[in-house]
Symmetry: D2
Subunit: 223 residues, 4 copies
């Protein structure tokens, strides 16, 4: 029996994953998910959430939420509003959108109240421990230097992954660990699972691929 | 002949202006605009842009954009994506979502490339001058202490409004001045026009009103 | 036998604790510490560290450090430089100077390398847990609403203090808990110790007192 | 007759310009300034201001100030405190320490009240215009990509320098323009003056030089 990974695909602000392209990309995710039985989550730009969530049945997540709620706030992304637009979860504290410690906490609390699943991104083992203490459903360990590098964290720095898995077990065993940064192939996904994670968070390896659907299929081919 | 003001209605993150409420609020704007011939711009939360822009014909603006474009950015709000979701313009540097000086500039440049109209918010006369030097279509002067206060800037601090109008004329006469903070009645709007502005930016005075449509009608009743 | 508390006095940017006033204030701390045997730490503004550390023998801490080291950084406060100026420790993530989660971590790591003791400030129990996971010597729990209020956290919200003490024990029992916000009297200090803390972090209650030395003496009178 | 440039030397957080090294570096600046009659300003780390200002007679500037004054602020760098520690001026909004637009303004206003001269750093021509509207004594145009590159802005992008000089003339002719990024030789300084600037802002070209004093002498050798 093989464990089935969770695949979280961050569309970032790439043109290849925006507007109509976001819908097409999400449909590829849906097709591959349906065919394989592997859960794939689409994470489009925030203004695209409604469009994408209206087009596919797989879960759609927001790339970011702020920790504020309803009130006198302008330009903030609230948990309630992304939920209302169709999101089922969100990333929090991605290395390209880091938050103040107190705001990571308030964003996670807001997400929980709104019924959103949270993936908190972290950059090293100690930050993973801290994030786990805040009780999101997932932490995703992504060493910033490897993001977009094509060098998978699972090869370049397996200790940061196993160290994160152990640290989370100690602080809060309910939190599941994903890993990201440099993931682009089925081998990378298989290696991530070997290291004790539940799945991967990735972006350019699929979004910028010449054949996005083929890249997705390759990604899950080894599991 | 009476000058017709521009009314920009910021929905902030108020529940009364989110999701279905955002659509209803925008429709009130549309009805009042159609009946009066006064331009009213709806500024809902970013995840609601697509929904609102698909429901009304009046212009819809984003509450914020970041100064980054397509690429390896996560959680950022790009000009291209809000444009693609239906926005025709955006606020930049609202006092509740202030930006680094360099990012105010890059946000305005990104907006221009994407064909978005920009309203840059400022907090005093010297910042208004600086903002005008960056050539947005509008600056909106809003002393932070008066925002949400119910005390209109046009009464509490008319000099900051006329000072802003003069400062802008000197630095960049193509930029139009709006004023905000504490605006909630038709008198406030009339006073704002008297002081040399093109219109007003407001939020709670209408969004939190018991009868939102009546508040809108009152707002434009004196012009 | 009575447990002796640690008293950490944050001078903030108050005029009454700047320049020559900072030296006088630190000397009061030294006198009261010498007379009572209670450790008092002076935390002046960063440009005053050298002056204050050159004038007293009690420990001097920095109000903030950034998480960066030597290199191409401008305007950042490095652990090495405050150490070289005479500081023996630092606050990190004060509610008036919050840091990104990843920067709280890197600031703590930098401080350790430089031999500085770290007090990480937190705003609630879950953030206290997260901070403890990053292994500073101390966490100081300070509900922001009570800072400068004159209402001691030990009375207004004792559960946040005991909850923080318990949370830290679970995550990292080596970390000691201080409490702050609204502390100004000996009763407040005694109450803080009762709740399981090692001492208090305070500011205006002493710095803004008419008679600073009398306020200090009163502070330690009950322990 | 040759125009004499202003030389502003940013020590950044380099070890070669910290603590005792900062004093030695500042003394080199003083010697070269005395011998040549050219004004050289030393910009050490903030905790080193008192030490350096106590050791030399040339002007010492802070690398950064915040826009807040006396009060309930922790870890902020106030104009009054750096002034009290011996600084005569400050950088504001360096590309490595960018500020919110409103804070660039309040920092400049605070500096003026405290009697500090301000050099506001900018990254392109439009931001230079905006900065000039805020009336600092100097703006220093530094394209971020060239900082620390060894490729002088005066060669790589002379148009950004002349464009900045022209933009400032239009908006506020009292503001003087410096240029920075990649400056390391006397030729670079001469070229900067040719382009209409009053001098240069530099760092690694001198601070990281094997022979810091020789690098300084070379720097002013062509003017």
């Amino acid at each position: 029996m093989v464990k089935k990974p969770l695949i979280v695909l961050n569309f970032k602000t790439y043109t290849e994953g925006m507007g109509d392209n976001a819908v097409r990309m999400a449909k590829y995710c849906e097709e591959v998910s349906d065919e394989s039985g592997i859960e794939i989550i689409a994470v489009p730009q925030i203004p695209d959430i409604a469009l994408v969530a209206g087009s596919v049945k797989i879960p759609v997540y927001a790339q970011h939420i702020d920790g504020v709620g309803a009130g006198g706030y302008t330009g903030h992304i609230t948990a309630d509003c992304v939920r209302s637009a169709g999101a089922q979860g969100c990333l929090v504290n991605h290395s390209e959108r880091r938050l103040l410690l107190a705001d990571v906490d308030s964003a996670i609390q807001s997400a929980k109240k709104a019924g959103l699943t949270v993936i908190t991104c972290t950059n090293n083992i100690s930050v993973t421990s801290a994030a786990a203490a805040l009780s999101p459903e997932y932490v995703a360990i992504e060493p910033p230097a490897l993001i977009g590098s094509g060098i998978p964290v699972s090869k370049a720095d397996p200790d940061i992954v196993t160290g994160s898995v152990e640290a989370v077990k100690k602080v809060n065993p309910n939190v599941k660990v994903l890993c990201g940064a440099g993931i682009s192939s089925g081998d990378d996904v298989a290696a991530a699972l070997e290291l004790g994670t539940y799945g991967v968070l990735l972006a350019s390896g699929v979004i910028k691929a010449k054949d996005q659907k083929a890249a997705l299929i390759d990604l899950i081919g080894k599991v």
